[in-house]
Symmetry: C2
Subunit: 256 residues, 2 copies
């Protein structure tokens, strides 16, 4: 984007090579930090890390500084360098609501709940006619009293309106939908992106403007194929990580 920011390998000097090594080292360390795989929760000492990675002490310091700026580690005098906060792991191998996939409780602040006329794009995704009523929810979701995500949801009114009498503050929409319709959910199409938080979303999620967010769009269908739940979810990048398993050969080809 900005040509002044472009560095070519040809102009690379010692500083650039060290920046490369520091980033490579930080990449390897960040998973250990995030998954709590440190011995007694403390990173090895700088000399031990320098020896393990075959780099200079300056490179170690630069790598740790990258992790510190990401908010993953902090230095505690007398103890050493420790993991600052875990990120929550959100599974993507299976269609699950936030409270189903996280280990602890989730609390929802319902910001919007009501009927609106479906804009053309919403109607199209949900198999409705533009202008038909749709149920419109917006929830801010918390774990450990920290905001994790801002969720915007559209549902066809026949399945969405009965939701409004339920415990939306304490429960996932997915479980409620299955109870109220008497049907299981089937599949969902998901799209994941990294986006910068606009000023307003940032304020709601209590992060600085421009902070990285993991944005999920998800269209969920009932078993049988009817689309019933169109969501736009902004997750805080510093709090949520998606984890899954992918196969080289899709299962349909193994079990046709």
């Amino acid at each position: 984007m900005n040509p002044q920011l472009t560095l070519s390998p040809e102009v690379a000097g010692v500083r650039l090579r060290r920046a490369d090594r520091a980033r490579q080292m930080a990449d390897v360390l960040r998973r250990q930090v995030m998954n709590g795989l440190l011995d007694e929760g403390v990173l090895p000492s700088e000399p031990a890390l320098a020896n393990d990675f075959g780099v200079s002490r300056n490179t170690v310091r630069e790598a740790l500084e990258l992790l510190r700026r990401e908010g993953l580690i902090e230095r505690i005098p007398g103890v050493g360098t420790v993991a600052a906060q875990p990120k929550y792991l959100h599974g993507i191998d299976q269609l699950q609501g936030l409270a189903e996939t996280l280990p602890g409780p989730v609390r929802n602040e319902v910001r919007v709940a009501g009927l609106v006329e479906a804009p053309a794009a919403v109607a199209h995704r949900l198999g409705l006619t533009p202008g038909e009523p749709v149920t419109h929810l917006e929830r801010r979701r918390f774990a450990d009293d920290v905001p994790l995500s801002l969720d915007l949801t559209y549902l066809p009114a026949d399945v969405g309106q009965p939701l409004l009498d339920q415990d939306l503050a304490g429960r996932d929409v997915f479980g409620l939908l299955e109870e109220l319709t008497g049907r299981s959910l089937g599949t969902a199409e998901i799209v994941l992106e990294a986006v910068a938080a606009d000023r307003h979303s940032a304020a709601i999620l209590e992060v600085p403007a421009g902070a990285p967010l993991l944005m999920l769009e998800r269209l969920t269908r009932l078993d049988g194929g009817r689309p019933v739940d169109l969501e736009f979810v902004r997750f805080r990048g510093d709090r949520i990580t998606m984890r899954g398993t992918v196969r080289r050969t899709p299962e349909e080809e193994i079990n046709p």
Copy 2:
């Protein structure tokens, strides 16, 4: 994080409600823009959008401004508001290399290729002893001459060293691994995060420092289970999107 940034619904006035509506509207429009679902590539006029979404012209302008700042749309005098650039869709339903999942050609700039002694964390993931030699690759990957990602890869030396004589600039590692080992790849464990670009990664990817990146960690196994490829990939958030399908009931339970 910064308590001054926190707004509560209680202090919300007209401006806050408009900001909410503008964001909600932008969320619905962004998929149409990204997937090229606009009539003749042009967004409807401001009055048509105001009518479709049941909002004021000011709210429409605020929603379009959010999409413009994300780099998704641009205004062309005499034509209207059009999609600025498509994002590439990277499938996650199946284990694929970048060139396998993108529609057009991918070019790789090999920045690092050689042997290093495995740091403890790399050895652990690849089932090796710390200090054993591993092949170490770093590639910057381009489509349409725009950098899409920066990929750091570690492979056990017995499978990694033969790669170095191959066409790493033109081909994916996955296909080469299958040819050289004579085996198919099996599964991969993936972790996806949204992170801010540090200054050095930003320069390499030609984005501003702090730009949102989609970060992928992927540990790939040969059919049979041996881990052979540990990757840390930074994708430009403005150029790459992950797309997949998830099921409420995992397939293993349907086809045991």
